[in-house]
Amino acid sequence: MTDKTAFDPKTATPFLTSRGHSGWLGLQYSDHGDDWVELELPWREDLLGEDGQRVLASGPILSLMDMASGLAIWKAMNRFEPIATLDLRVDYVRPAREGSPVFGRSQCYRVTRSAAFVRGLAHDGDASDPVAHIQAVFMKIGQSADKRELPGE
């Protein structure tokens, strides 16, 4: 890549998901476009929700979408900058299929001087049949102490 300031979700994701909450969930890069990023949440038995339903809990989907949204914002801005979730809404439209990974695709449709707006969906293989829809607002938090190392920085 010639532009050293460009943000590449494919190379950044393994760094951002190597540890912490995203690492614990095992989030992986799946796909991206100019203003959207898709991550994959692999199936795991210990992430089930209500007993007896064999359904992925809703919490991991919220985390997946939060992370995919952050990456989509950095992709849309084409640089890494500290941001914080302000408001996140998740509509769980159907249960995810047992044993299936869940993909979280978020699109950043507007960035202002202080905020970034995203919308997205989670699906288990077919994006035209989502398991959840999300909408969120993130705030830029300026030059605070985010010391994560990223490739190219």
Partner: protein, 137 residues
């Protein structure tokens, strides 16, 4: 599943994330999660997803306690959640407690607050709608 709000009632996800029953106030469970790597987002701060998971878990716990009080059995399924992040979750234990705003025949509306040191300054709040299904149907 146990309906009395003890830690047996935690989902596999909640147990795996490290969420615990911290206590009970007026019959409503207070849930907590210690600051471990599994909840960390940017360094030394809670990940928004982990805070959301704690809020959801506390919401379900409050709902189960209310259902138990009314002797109702139910299968709970998420409809939606809206989380407001008010301030950064720092590298210490977070707590959360829910309130059943409305419990109807088919759904429940919950509000949940999460806090750290100072309860009067919540770090996040959530509104949840949960489908309350009759297990016999």
């Amino acid at each position: 599943m146990s309906e009395n709000g003890n830690s047996d009632a935690l989902t596999p996800y909640a147990r795996s994330l490290g969420i615990e029953l911290a206590g009970s106030e007026d019959g409503i469970p207070v849930m907590s999660v210690a600051f471990e790597e599994a909840v960390e987002g940017r360094p030394e701060h809670f990940h928004g997803g982990a805070t959301g998971g704690l809020l959801e878990t506390a919401g379900y716990a409050a709902l189960r306690a209310e259902l138990a009080k009314r002797d109702r059995e139910a299968l709970l399924k998420p409809i939606n959640i809206t989380v407001q992040y008010l301030s950064a979750g720092k590298s210490r234990t977070s707590y959360a407690k829910g309130r059943v705003t409305k419990l109807g025949r088919r759904s429940a509306n919950l509000t949940v607050e999460a806090w750290q040191d100072d309860r009067s300054r919540p770090i996040a709040t959530a509104v949840m709608n949960v489908l309350v299904a009759d297990p016999k149907e």
